[in-house]
């Protein structure tokens, strides 16, 4: 089959090389959803306008997300004979200047550059040596931000479809053996060994089987799967086709939430192109293997990411996880037929594992968790973005080296992984290696890959409350512990945050959390208490301060804080007095101002407006002396 692929590949490689060696400048604009939200399409239009205006010819291409969300909009310029330079924070105006300065006047504008492909441009850091690149390894996202997601030729030129072509020359069992040897574990959260899942699907006897890609991605703050679909949809399609061949399925679905319109568009385009090149459809590469792919748009319920709920959703029924005991999805899934369900990133790894071999994959990451992990690094960190790191990397490397440390020079307090199913880990666990098993043992989770860094201005009770609010709304509502338990826990947390917590509440939360974990039907309920239990485990003193002393140490919980003007610092400038929306501040010229706490609504406007050089307004917690 590789023979059949070769002419397609050669043609694609030639095109790719022609592009690399083009005598015209090549401009790449990161135009995934994240880039677009920052104005990538306007930047692109500005570049094209400017080029026209200047009568310059250049090749302008859209690419996916490279992960440096902290510097959106990203524009790469490759001038003939010069290294690729990446520019960050580009606005339409800056884009126009850049075209003028670099393309017309040959000034590379090192002040706007983030990095360059090699160290030739002396003032620009080398891309590979940037602290945030050094620890990253790109497997799942290797093509994101490099290829045009609308061009299958781009993908073919990066060894695309070598995996499928090779797989079609192997027996299904051989493919599964490679997968088992590679140690690939599902990237959807639970880390189930992919080879074993595929094997049980292969063994299931049926006239029809299905392959489903789980691109529901419902966790708040997670956008890894979206980025892969937007930046490199082909890798997922290729992985699914290999899966179809390996388990004996001729039909596949990509279950993607309707809130991902760009991902859906790129996927649709990619499917179309793959069909045109006979890399999808009937008799793929002349092998006799047929595989059709259909997109199914989900309505955006978090619980529909759960395997049995997802299957019901495709069948047009209410997405409610099926309780145990039940047949495995690999034996009785969609329409009662054996079904293989894997995450976007799992499929995206498959083609490369087949092409490059199990040993290559195992050389990355740890023995028990080979390969890479993709995280959406956000929160109080200097460089937020999409990162891909080898499994087993220490948390502190991610936060301090890739993320550039805690923003604003504040103190690190906790890192939350796994979204609403995960937990918060404190500073003394920063040495923890990041993989499925270590995170679970520490009371958190790999989950789908959200990673939120929190500093000392974060209240951990409030954080737990935030995540519980999400699960409360997203539970399917069928089982009592999850439906009512999350509501009960949330009410208790609300009370604690408002200073109405009771001494027995902490033990009650722990006891109830355990019963919810034991009693719930699916992973949603079984993990819903994690944000609460992990914060109690590592930050119990903060809960106690709220309950016993009616204090919020992080100065977040509104009911437990108050504002006060330090008379020694107040310069009686009157700014706060004018700004206070409820006229709670009194004072006169040369008289230090005073806040009437009985009127104050704690909006914090005075705190914000008091000039930094005075800093007379203080935010405090506990009982105000004035109220005593």
């Amino acid at each position: 089959m590789r023979k059949v692929l070769e002419p397609l590949r050669q043609e694609a490689i030639q095109r790719w090389q022609a592009l690399q060696n083009s005598d015209k400048p090549v401009i790449l604009v990161g135009a995934a959803t994240c880039g677009r939200a920052s104005g990538a399409l306007d930047v692109m239009a500005a570049i094209e306008d400017k080029l026209r205006e200047q009568g310059r010819d250049a090749i302008v291409r859209q690419v996916g997300c490279i992960g440096k969300c902290h510097s959106e909009v990203l524009v790469d310029i490759i001038k003939p004979g010069r290294p690729r330079i990446t520019y960050g924070h580009i606005t339409p105006e800056l884009a126009k200047q850049l075209v003028e300065d670099y393309l017309v006047n040959d000034n590379p504008r090192t002040d706007l550059a983030v990095c360059a492909a090699s160290g030739e441009e002396t003032d620009i850091p080398c891309a590979d040596e940037l602290p945030d690149s050094k620890h990253q390894i790109r497997v799942v996202m290797c093509n994101c931000g490099h290829i045009d997601p609308g061009s299958i030729d781009d993908y073919l030129a990066q060894d695309g479809y070598m995996g499928l072509a090779k797989a079609l020359e192997m027996t299904p069992q051989e493919i599964i053996e490679v997968l088992k040897q590679s140690g690939l574990r599902g990237r959807g959260g639970a880390g189930f060994p992919a080879g074993r899942k595929w094997e049980s699907c292969l063994k299931a006897k049926s006239d029809q089987k299905y392959v489903i890609c789980n691109a529901d991605e419902g966790d708040p703050g997670a956008f890894m799967d979206r980025s892969v679909l937007e930046g490199d949809p082909y890798s997922v399609i290729e992985g699914m086709a290999i899966a179809g061949y390996a388990i004996g399925a001729s039909k596949g679905y990509v279950y993607v939430r309707a809130e991902y319109p760009l991902a859906i568009r790129q996927l649709r385009l990619a499917i179309q192109q793959a069909k045109e090149k006979n890399l999808l459809g009937k008799n793929i590469l002349g092998s006799g293997f047929d595989f059709e792919l259909e997109i199914f748009q989900g309505a955006g319920a978090f619980v529909c990411g759960e395997s049995t709920a997802l299957v019901l959703s495709i069948e047009g029924r209410r997405g409610m996880p099926k309780p145990l005991p039940r047949p495995r999805t690999t034996e009785e899934g969609l329409w009662g037929k054996p079904t293989l369900l894997n995450n976007v990133k799992t499929f995206a790894c498959v083609a490369q594992i087949i092409h490059r071999g199990a040993e290559w994959f195992k050389s990355i990451g740890t023995e028990k968790c080979p390969g890479t992990a993709v995280f959406a690094l956000t929160g109080k960190v200097n460089k937020s973005g999409l990162i891909e790191v080898p499994m087993g990397i220490q948390l502190k490397k991610i936060i301090y080296e890739i993320g550039g440390g805690v923003a604003g020079g504040r103190e690190f307090k906790a890192v939350q992984t796994g979204g609403p199913s995960g937990g918060c880990l404190p500073a003394d666990l920063l040495d923890l290696p990041v993989d499925f098993d270590s995170l679970t043992a520490a009371g958190s989770m790999m989950g789908s890959g959200g990673m939120v860094v929190m500093d000392d201005s974060t209240c951990m009770v409030d954080v737990a409350r935030y995540f519980l609010e999400f699960t409360l709304e997203e539970s399917c509502g069928q089982c009592t512990p999850c439906r009512v338990g999350t509501e009960q826990m949330l009410k208790i947390l609300h009370d604690i945050c408002e200073g109405k917590g009771r001494e027995e509440d902490i033990d009650l939360l722990v006891e109830m959390g355990k019963a919810i974990i034991d009693g719930s039907i699916c992973g949603l309920g079984q993990s819903a208490p994690n944000p609460v239990l992990s914060t109690i485990r590592y930050f119990r003193d903060e809960y106690e301060a709220h309950i016993r002393e009616k204090r919020c140490p992080a100065l977040v919980c509104k009911k437990l804080i108050y504002y006060r003007i330090d008379p020694d610092k107040c310069q009686a400038c009157g700014r706060c007095l004018k700004a206070c929306p409820v006229q709670a501040i009194t004072g006169a010229k040369k008289t230090p101002h005073v806040i009437d706490l009985s009127k104050c609504t704690k909006c914090g406007v005075c705190f914000e407006i008091c000039p930094d050089r005075f800093s007379a307004v203080e935010r405090k917690t506990g009982q105000a002396e004035e109220l005593n």
Binding site: R318, P323, L324, E474, G477, V484, Q488, R502, E511
Partner: protein, 345 residues
């Protein structure tokens, strides 16, 4: 047969039985809320959790295994059972005295079994939903503040009646039993058969005019020719309720809207209790002899003048077979075959 041990007692049950079946055979109580023997198992309420070979499982779904060791009273199982009941109560309108299911309520039974203390309940925050009672149906109401989302009504409507007028709607803590488009029951596909409220474990689905009978009388529903077995609930000389007779081979306890709710005519003041004869354009009460003499005289007169085929008789589906037999005998005696029946009209 499979032999297993439930709370140290050995029991043999058929292969494919559940742990709940085995426990019940031994007379061991396992609390259940969403389980109903007439319906497919759901497994949503989680109150029947027991420990089987060291793992927590729902007794209503988990199949028995040879040599399985089941503990219904292990501390882990008890903890989940109790938490589930406490949580359910925190979410339930507990004004029992105004509830028609008081003392017949499954939730009360289960709460009594697992042991609910006022101290524990005081630790929880009340989470009773604030929703209007759906009173749109003339016969019964849906009070969602008492609903425990066991899904028994949903399954009943789908599996017993095949109507599927209701289902779960919305998500998370807003999950509730809804009709299509979340309209009132009266505007839905609901046929008011009332099968759901017979099975609802709480007072969420309940008759509007419930009166507890002082005794029950076995009878047959008089509405149509099917002949469903019923129990009439009686207080003194008044019929105050009807329920289906589970042992009746005709209906296995099921009833239709008329059979279940249409019994008020029995004690209705407008009900005819004596024959009426129209005199000078007004109906006047008469004795049976008077009335029958009049009818007989008119029949004979009509037959004499216009021939017997000028007569016709229509009988009622509410008559018994014997009564219908006598009716056609009467008309043939009068010389006509013009006999029909309201069920044909």
């Amino acid at each position: 047969m499979v032999t297993l041990y439930v709370d140290d007692l050995a029991v043999s049950v058929e292969k494919g039985s559940t742990i709940l079946d085995a426990a019940r055979k031994l007379g061991i109580y396992i609390p259940t809320l969403c389980y109903h023997p007439d319906l497919t198992t759901f497994g949503g309420c989680r109150v029947c959790m027991v420990e089987a070979n060291g793992k927590l499982v729902t007794a209503c779904r988990a199949p028995v295994e040879e040599g399985m060791v089941v503990r219904t009273d292990s501390s882990a199982a008890r903890q989940v059972q109790r938490t589930v009941v406490e949580l359910t109560l925190s979410n339930h309108n507990g004004d029992c005295l105004t509830c028609v299911k008081d003392s017949r309520c499954k939730l009360q039974e289960v709460a009594n079994y697992v042991g609910i203390t006022p101290e524990r309940m005081a630790m929880l925050r009340s989470a009773v939903p604030e929703v209007e009672v759906d009173e749109s149906n003339p016969f019964f109401k849906l009070d969602r503040t008492r609903c425990i989302l066991c899904g028994i009504c949903v399954r009943t409507c789908q599996e017993i009646n095949g109507v599927a007028a209701i289902d779960f709607g919305f998500r998370g803590h807003k999950t509730t039993v809804v009709t299509i488009g979340n309209k009132g029951l009266a505007e839905s596909r609901c046929e008011s058969c009332g099968e759901c409220l017979e099975r609802c474990p709480t007072g969420a689905l309940a008759r509007k005019d419930y009166e507890q009978p002082s005794r029950e009388v076995k009878s047959v529903c008089p509405y149509c020719g099917v002949g469903c077995g019923i129990y009439l609930g009686v207080r003194g000389d008044r019929v105050v309720s009807v329920r289906g007779d589970k042992d009746s081979p005709v209906n296995s306890g099921q009833l239709c809207v008329k059979g279940r709710f249409g019994y008020h005519f029995i004690n209705h003041p407008d009900r005819l209790t004596a024959p009426l004869i129209k005199r000078d354009g007004v109906f006047v009460e008469a004795s049976w002899d008077e009335a029958l003499d009049l009818v007989a005289a008119r029949f004979l007169e009509t037959a004499k003048h216009y021939g017997p085929d000028a007569l016709a008789g229509i009988s009622s589906a509410r008559c018994t077979t014997e009564e219908n037999y006598l009716f056609q005998k009467l008309l043939r005696f009068l010389g006509t075959n013009n006999i029909d029946h309201c069920a044909r009209l």
